[in-house]
Amino acid sequence: MRKLVTMLLCVVLAITQIAAQTRTVKGKVTDSKSNPVPNASVVVKGTTTGTTSDANGDFSINVPASAKVLVISSLNYTSQEVSIGTKTNITVSLVSTEQDLQEVVVVGYGSKKKSDLTGSVATLKAAEIENLPFSSVDKALQGKVAGLQSVAASGQPGASQNIIIRGISSVNGSSNPLWIIDGIPVNTGDASRLQTTSNLLSTLNPNDIESISVLKDAASQSIYGSRAANGVIVVTTKKGKGGKTKFRFDTEVGQSNTAYTNDKYKPLSAQQYLDITREGLVNAGQTPANVTATLTALGLGNGIDFNWLDNVVRNGTQQQYNVSASGGNDKTQFFLSGGRFVQDGTTINSRLTRTNGNVNITNQATDKLKLGFSLNGGAVNQRAPLAGGAFGNPVLSSYFLLPTYSAYKADGTYNLTSASLGGLHNTIALSELDKRFLRQASLRGSVYGEYKILENLKFKSQYGVDYNVLEEDQYNNPLHGDGAASSGRAFSYYTRYYNWVWTNTLDLQQNITRGGDLSFNAQIGYEAQKSSGYFSSLQSQQFPPTTTLTYPASGASPTTASATISEYSFASQFASAAVNYQNRFVVSGSFRRDGSSKFSPNNKYGNFWSVGGTWNVDRERFMENVKFITQLKLRSSYGVNGSNTAIGNYDALPLYSFGSNYNQLPGSAPANVGDPNLTWELNKPFNVGVDVSILKNRISLTAEYYTRTSSSLLLSVPLSRTSGFASATRNIGTLKNEGIELNLSVVPVQTKNFKWDIDFNFANNKNTVVELPGGADIANGNFIIRQGVPLNSFFLREWAGVDPATGDPNWYADNVRGTKTNVYPGVNARVLAGNAQPKYFGSLNNTITFKNFTLSAQLYYNYGNMVYDTWGGYYTGAGFGATFNKVARVLDRWQKAGDVTDIPKYIYGGNKNFQSASTFYLQKGDFVRLREIQIGYNLPKEVLAKAGISSANFYVRGTNLFTWVKDKNLAFDPEQGTNSASNLNVFIPKTVTVGLSVAF
């Protein structure tokens, strides 16, 4: 391609040089679908003699008698050489470089031909990620990759998303994978310090992504060394293509509301609440006078019946607009894009807007030197309510605030009197009076130069930057709510992460034998990275008695003024190599040596490696006659990599910290025991897989088995407190994950006008805690970490139902389910009660294309986990928290001897600790969700061509439209983070959108 311009010049010159001894060769240049390729260059190899094809792809060229080979090339096609021989008419079918790309998979520090892969790599294309109603790309991954679990905890737009690839491999570290965007290992996750949730990836527009590769095994991961253990997600952004400038415009608008509701968990109406409270007071033995007095205090007769939930939830609107332009010539290509995304949450006080811009330029400076530049910027404004047990959480108030309290006074103004709200907060008023804002901006960009030292040897140097800024403001007004006690308060936090990476690689491709039967490619590289966090916090209180002055500057009393930094750095060398024998056998290896500031002096450097092998059975001679098998590939890998998320930036050092101040003079105190041997957590993945395609790819199956042992886990080892410390972090502990992944694609029908694609994926993972410090259990809230059982195992007192005779709550008195008791049993009665992680999950996708219509649907399924109703004791407790509202389920309470029910007798103030943690509040998390359903229509090309439009697609899409759950008592959405514990978060939305995509 780079030669095109030169060639064209040469062609002009060549005309004068045509010698007498020539003959004419005619021909046609087409693409792989036999469409003509105009303007293709046709040159006699080794000369400047040439021509170009015309609009029909035809060409005619006079060639010297000595000419043997023609070189045909065109923009966006792989150039091809054709031997002339004695032929006078030649048809050349060019292969599109785009199509070529599909055979190539992006992996760590480069790309590989699919047939060369020895590892487990799943890929997603732009079309699978574009225009979805999700605030960040990690949310779009749910159900798309076998073995990748993507779980939301909150429906807040911009909320963090938990991703687990092939199980959890760390107890104290993060399970989130390493994200590489255009070669830069970026900071991801929730970087906010005031918000309940946020997501650094929410500043990245999914529409700017060209492809995503998920690296799942040692062969693909280990090149990322000490950060690879949780898996690696490699994102490549869109690049420009030469030729006529192409424009694209996409828009989608729609509405969302709560995806899952359960009528059993509807808050009671005023009458229902007063009735059951009366019953509870009587059951508590109150005198009639007291009953009436208490009920009156709770609103009896005040005529109010206010549904807080109805006033907190809402239909959220949603819209996004994306434009892009792509073009250039054979030397320089560009891609420009811009986007705007606005999403309302399903509850008040919840919103996100994003504005994006993206520039990508590549230039072939000389024959040998290629330059590239990319810059992707995004700015997010997020507004998120409080979550969990905070009085300012609107979702909490919708279940806790009595229906006899109203958000408004009779005159229509806000009710701000704490006493008439039962001491809770009027979150409907606060959503207007208080402020909780996050402004998050990211710049991700890089410049690189790539130099061809030899035809088969390439040097590349890239400098990348990942810059994130978060500005957070919180204001609590002085009149009502969290700010009232301090006469108003405001926070202003500034957080910045500046992360730079300099990567240098040298790539070699070498045929070992002359014919190319045995080839070799290798890469060596050096990478330096530093991430610097900067944190500034300030707070003031004592505000003027108004709600319009909302910044700390207006507070009379500054209470926090602090700033600090936190940094980590990496210096790494790496190498990888693969040997290919006739495309039948491929053996690969990788090695990385990571040095990091996080590691202790005695373990400053870690070595990580992998080996992998592939046998492309279909390329064997004995398979030539097995026509029905298109592809048969066996592959396996093993290696060592690590995770360092459980190590704080300065954990390895023994430290004295400052802040133990006395009389406002500085004081110091020992702060960290340190460990001169502290190091990364080790992970050893083994993978074996088979890829089979039969009947011309009509049926394709990928099946994989993996096992990975994660050892040297960083755990807190309790110390004798006489040492002055409670615990020290040590590399001790082992976990194991083992599982199966299946991916089956079937094309049952494929005709000219009708195509039906089915894609099914399945993943099963078994997690086991193998070794803990001293073999001792580690208590972890409602979970236990115990040798021999999976991580995230619920450990609770076991609910034994309601005694039909008395209405008392019953639990099993011990952990062998021997006897029942109505006395809330001790800690020794706790039992293993299921796991927060599903046994298996995956999705079923159907796509039906009929002429210009496309119907597609994705069903996501999740089986075998339990979900804990964290706050259930309050709204289902049998009278506990009597001054808070209850849900409809309590109406099933026991009322008289002989009643068989699962809700105990309702007693004002509570019935024998029924509200305390037990398996009553644990529900099955099995669900199937219609994650996506879409009907699209491609406008006919003939119609569009008149308007100069190359393609236009109109669609209607539903997201999370239906959710089937197995447990009829499941209180909230089954998706509650990887801990499977509900926390009164913004409800996860179901969304209906319409979209339009136009290219011209």
């Binding site: 990091s596 110091s668 105190a669 702060a671 110390l719």
Partner: protein
């Protein structure tokens, strides 16, 4: 290509420091304790440790009264100290109790801070000696808190299990409990060193020579060593240069929350200033009725024991809480800004120790010293003799040192049953000396982590 490889290799090798990053907010122990000035900063850290919520910041002064007969929990409460208000053989705190393990952890954390100063290699000079002296006194105070709560009184059995003695830093140490007598020997020894090393008086919130001596007087009193207790108390009275609290200065003394240098009354207090304080967890919040807490009230019998003319009575204004008439405690009134400090050692107590230690044998001295106090409070002079005089001195201690964390320890060293007013729950109005919960359990977290102490849990737990 060779050139590039050479480049890569050199790039990687010359960047060793690139992956050595230091904490921006912390120093290594060597850096933090290298100079005389560093020791002063570390010493403040040790004092700040005393302010821990389950140490002198709140729990220590509260336990000393709520577990005795002075402070009780109102029916309207925030559920703090419930297990110490209502405790008996069948009720009360368990080995998992957060406050109890908080005391254990805070005390040993302060001991580590003190040890690091005591064991410094910085060359000796007047300042370094002063800092080390203060560290010795702080360490003695921490052991005094531990041994009195976790072990039998010295007066009962000096050979009983005390608490582990740790004087050097070793995170992997799993020590067994030392004997009570060994812990007392360490305290006396530390306080002798503190007395010798210190030459300066800084302010009311730091140990001085005579504050250390005052603590030693208290230690001796707990050992039943009346001779040494009296000698030490008189050394403070006669040579300390502190002035006595009078009836006229009484009210302003208790309302002041600022650290002083006047040498009036306070020998040592733990400071809570306007910034470094426990906020809602501060001692003053539990007593003050001005905030949202005010859980703890003054027992009716104690309130009744003050004569109308006694200026101390003014510290207990009356009112209604939870629908009942109650006497509030106004010894720690400041809950905003520079919070009320925790008084640990006062000159008045030296007179009370001198009085008690004069008995039996020297009733004249005893009367002189105890009436030094009554005469400065507007109370009627004590004139009794014999056993009644001893009893009157103990009662005077109750009245003078009420809500300063002292009463329970008097009941312990005197091996007395605690008889409480009807303000307390009926289940624990009488707490015999034999009730095992009068000693705290060794915290479960310690038992779990320390195999040597596993078999040394206090009886009953």
């Amino acid at each position: 290509m060779l050139l590039v490889i050479v480049l890569l290799v050199t790039a990687s090798s010359c960047k060793k420091t690139f992956i050595e990053l230091n904490s921006p907010t912390s120093l290594t122990p060597e850096q933090a304790l290298g100079t005389e000035a560093d020791l002063q900063v570390a010493l403040r850290g040790a004092y700040a440790g005393l302010r821990g919520v389950d140490f002198y910041g709140r729990s220590m002064p509260i336990w000393g009264d709520i577990m005795a007969d002075n402070a009780y929990q109102s029916a309207l409460n925030t559920n703090r100290y419930t297990f110490f208000n209502d405790y008996s053989d069948t009720k009360g705190a368990t080995a998992g109790d957060g406050n109890v393990s908080g005391l254990w952890a805070s005390a040993y954390s302060v001991i580590l801070r003190a040890n690091n100063i005591i064991n410094t290699t910085v060359a000796s000079n007047a300042n370094v000696d002063q800092y080390r002296g203060e560290a010795y006194a702080i360490r003695a105070l921490a052991y005094f808190a531990l041994v009195r709560h976790f072990a039998k009184p010295y007066s009962d059995d000096p050979a009983a299990l005390g608490v582990p003695i740790v004087t050097t830093y070793n995170p992997d140490l799993k020590p067994a409990r030392n004997k009570v007598s060994e812990v007392y020997t360490l305290m006396v020894d530390d306080l002798n060193k503190a007395y010798t090393l210190m030459t300066k008086y800084t302010n009311s919130s730091q140990f001085s020579k005579y504050a250390a001596k005052a603590l030693q007087a208290k230690v001796y009193l707990n050992m039943g060593d009346k001779t040494n207790a009296k000698t030490a108390a008189l050394d403070v009275i006669n040579n300390g240069g502190f002035t006595s609290l009078t009836a006229a200065s009484h009210a302003s003394y208790w309302s002041n929350s600022v650290v002083t240098t006047s040498k009036l009354e306070t020998l040592f207090e733990v400071s809570s200033d306007a910034v470094a304080n426990l906020a809602f967890d501060a001692l003053s919040y539990l007593y003050s009725q001005a905030g949202n807490y005010g859980d703890l009230l003054c027992a009716d019998d104690l309130y009744a024991s003050f004569e109308a003319t006694d200026v101390r009575k003014a510290l207990y204004p009356t009112g209604v809480r939870a629908g009942l008439a109650a006497a509030f405690v106004n010894k720690y009134p400041v809950i905003q800004g520079d919070l009320s400090d925790t008084k640990v050692l006062r000159l008045s107590e030296m007179y009370l120790i001198a009085a008690e230690a004069s008995l039996p044998g020297n009733e004249a001295d005893a009367l002189t010293y105890v009436n030094y106090i009554t005469s400065r409070r507007g109370a009627t002079a004590i004139a009794s003799t014999g056993a009644q005089l001893f009893e009157d001195i103990i009662t005077e201690r109750r009245k003078e040192l009420a809500f300063e964390g002292d009463r329970f320890h008097d009941m312990q060293r005197l091996k007395r049953n605690i008889v409480r007013s009807t303000n307390y729950p009926a289940t624990s109005r009488t707490v015999p000396y034999t009730v095992f919960r009068r000693l705290f359990p060794i915290p479960q977290v310690e038992v779990d982590a320390n195999p040597q102490i596993k078999t040394q849990q206090n009886a009953g737990y």
